[in-house]
């Protein structure tokens, strides 16, 4: 709707400049933002996610407890407001509220960083393949096809076994797994825009290939990239918690939602809060990222609706 209105005002503006002087041209990004604002599920998710992030940052300092402080007299207790254990304590007598929020920090950091790694690799790779086309493209995308059919999760698990649990290895490994789809998306988009006039114009004035890719191609494929990145974050968080659940993720006393959930799942009959709180946080976060991703897709791609 908005998109069409903008086109028509622009068109009439071109024909008779005096007719519509008060109408400002809106950029694609501004239109997308307005569309996103009207998507209730996405905006609600954005607010909730914002709250979780704020809580993860300042939450631990609200509580009088440290994330690795052990209270021998309060092992595996339910939520207890007298001692300010709002979410109860875990099997080692540590405060679950603070640990859940520390887990939030780790899970979010892994999600964001690994997604960023995958985005950088995928975008550069996809744009290069799409831009050069022909044999280069063929070769590069065949390589992606091959990687696609490899059992990557098992390689990641093997990597964890061999090199021990190392949080930086998790970033790199997950980023290395997740860039494949990103590369495919970016390549498709690049193929679509590389024949456009502004690329030709850049060629004509002698801009180098490298500059064209970074200055003209990549900014123009950013829309789908952002959408897919938003949907990658929850996947990465899920994979990290999966690894942690298997005992291959982050190491004690540091924690992540996956570690907390796996501890909670073992004792859920006697201490359900140990499963409930981290699982609720994880599920809510994944929900929010998925809704925001869907909302962004609708906002950035009006044809799709």
């Amino acid at each position: 709707m908005l998109f069409f209105r903008r086109k028509s005002t622009l068109a009439s503006g071109n024909g008779a400049p005096a007719e519509a002087p008060s109408v400002e041209a809106r950029s694609v990004w501004r239109n997308a933002r307005l569309r996103l604002y009207r998507n209730k599920a996405a905006m609600g998710s954005l607010i909730i996610l914002g709250l979780i992030i704020v809580l993860a940052i300042i939450g631990p300092s609200l509580s009088p407890h440290e994330y690795d402080a052990v209270y021998w007299d309060r092992i595996q207790m339910g939520p207890d407001f007298a001692n300010q254990h709002w979410f109860g304590t875990d099997g080692n007598g540590r405060d679950l509220f603070v640990r859940t929020l520390y887990g939030a920090r780790v899970s979010m950091a892994v999600g964001l960083l690994a997604t960023f790694v995958s985005m950088v690799i995928g975008v550069v790779y996809g744009a290069t393949a799409g831009y050069f086309g022909g044999r280069v493209d063929n070769l590069m995308m065949r390589f992606v096809d091959i990687l696609y059919t490899l059992p990557f999760m098992f390689f990641v698990i093997m990597l964890m076994v061999v090199f021990g649990r190392n949080i930086f290895l998790i970033f790199v490994a997950l980023g290395a797994v997740e860039w494949l789809t990103m590369a495919r998306i970016v390549r498709g988009q690049t193929l679509a825009i590389k024949r456009r006039e502004f690329i030709e114009a850049a060629h004509a004035i002698g801009v180098s290939n490298l500059t064209i890719i970074f200055r003209h191609i990549i900014p123009n494929v950013l829309g789908p990239v952002i959408v897919y990145a938003t949907l990658t974050i929850p996947q990465v968080i899920l994979i990290e918690s999966f690894l942690s659940f298997l005992g291959l993720g982050v190491q004690e006393p540091l924690t992540s939602w996956g570690v907390l959930i796996s501890e909670g799942a073992n004792v859920m009959e006697v201490a359900p809060w140990m499963l409930l709180f981290p699982a609720a946080f994880l599920a809510t976060t994944l929900f929010c990222f998925n809704f925001i991703g869907d909302g962004l897709r609708d906002a950035l791609d009006p044809k799709d609706r």
Binding site: I146, P151, F154, I157, L238, F245, M268, A279
Partner: protein, 308 residues
């Protein structure tokens, strides 16, 4: 078509080689050897042990020997589970794992496609929202949370089914693991089906089929589903990978004696040969199923059929 299948079969061989090579060399760059933890041995004996496991030869030759053995089904001995070879362990675990995995994929396909089609046919109805809400829940609640919850509610509170174990393979032991394994896939497949069916139901050939007076259910079953299922078929490859990884967790939670359980134990115990063996078996499984899916896709999609 035969040529295409042959071509794909040949293409699978280098893929398998890559999987075996990655598994092999990853283990070799691991710090420390398999015999480090044992008490110090006299050099001659150590030399003999190394010779027995071919560890004294150059790395490339070792890889060749390993490859040769793997092709003959010999994955070497397990380090931690004494007196068992990796091949024996895999053979003992495979039936349970394969049963679980295949049943889960079939169940996910049936339920997912049905739900997705129904919600596409009743777009924006209460039923549609309900199905999509449940699908979203299935996606965001990881199966390692869902599985213990299922076993707690169905197994402990309602006492309907056993919470874990395998017995002698009776059906009642399989129900919960299969459901837990297929739930995320049901969610994905129903979302995929809904999306593509919505597109197909608005396309011209479906309108034509309706215009010539074909009854509704025939239009859907005979015309729309055929085209609408293509994305689902191409998702089957990733789905297999997801189910095999998922089965690792599900088998551990429900104490199913499958290869997934061995994998986790081996990974935590650093039983390298066993980890390698399981990775190679899973890799072969995923590559084979991807191949099958591609062939199936070729058969279903007339555009691809004529090209090849």
């Amino acid at each position: 078509m035969t040529r295409y299948i042959l071509k794909r079969l040949l293409g699978a061989i280098p893929l398998m080689l890559i999987v075996i090579a990655v598994a092999f060399f990853m283990m070799r760059i691991a710090p420390g050897g398999p015999f480090d933890s044992e008490r110090a041995l006299p050099p001659e004996i150590e030399q003999n042990i190394k010779a027995a496991y071919d560890l004294d030869k150059p790395l490339v030759q070792q890889f060749g020997i390993y490859l040769w053995k793997v092709m003959h089904g010999d994955f070497g001995p397990s380090i931690k589970i004494r007196d068992f070879s990796v091949a024996e362990l895999i053979a003992s675990g495979a039936p349970a794992s394969i049963q679980l995995g295949l049943s889960a994929i079939l169940l996910a396909l049936m339920v997912g496609v049905t739900l997705g089609t129904l919600s596409a046919l009743r777009q924006n109805s209460a039923a549609d929202y309900a199905v999509m809400g449940v699908a979203m829940t299935g996606i965001v609640i990881p199966n390692f949370v869902m599985a213990p919850l299922l076993s707690l509610v169905v197994g402990v509170y309602w006492e309907l089914l056993p919470t874990s174990g395998w017995g002698s393979g009776e059906l009642k032991y399989k129900v919960l693991p299969i459901i837990a394994l297929s739930l995320p896939q049901i969610a994905y497949i129903s979302r995929l089906t809904r999306g593509s069916m919505l597109e197909v139901l608005n396309s011209n050939f479906v309108r034509t089929a309706r215009a010539k007076g074909l009854r509704d259910h025939l239009v859907v079953i005979r015309h729309a589903l055929k085209a609408g299922l293509l994305p689902v078929v191409s998702y089957l490859g990733p789905a297999t990978a997801a189910v095999t990884t998922g089965s690792v967790v599900i088998e551990t939670i429900f104490a199913v004696p499958g290869i997934g359980t061995y994998f986790i134990k081996a990974a935590l115990n650093r039983d390298y040969p066993l980890v390698m063996g399981v990775v190679i078996v899973y890799g072969a499984l995923i590559i084979t199923l991807n191949l099958l899916v591609d062939v199936l896709y070729g058969l279903l999609d007339p555009k691809l059929r004529s090209n090849r």
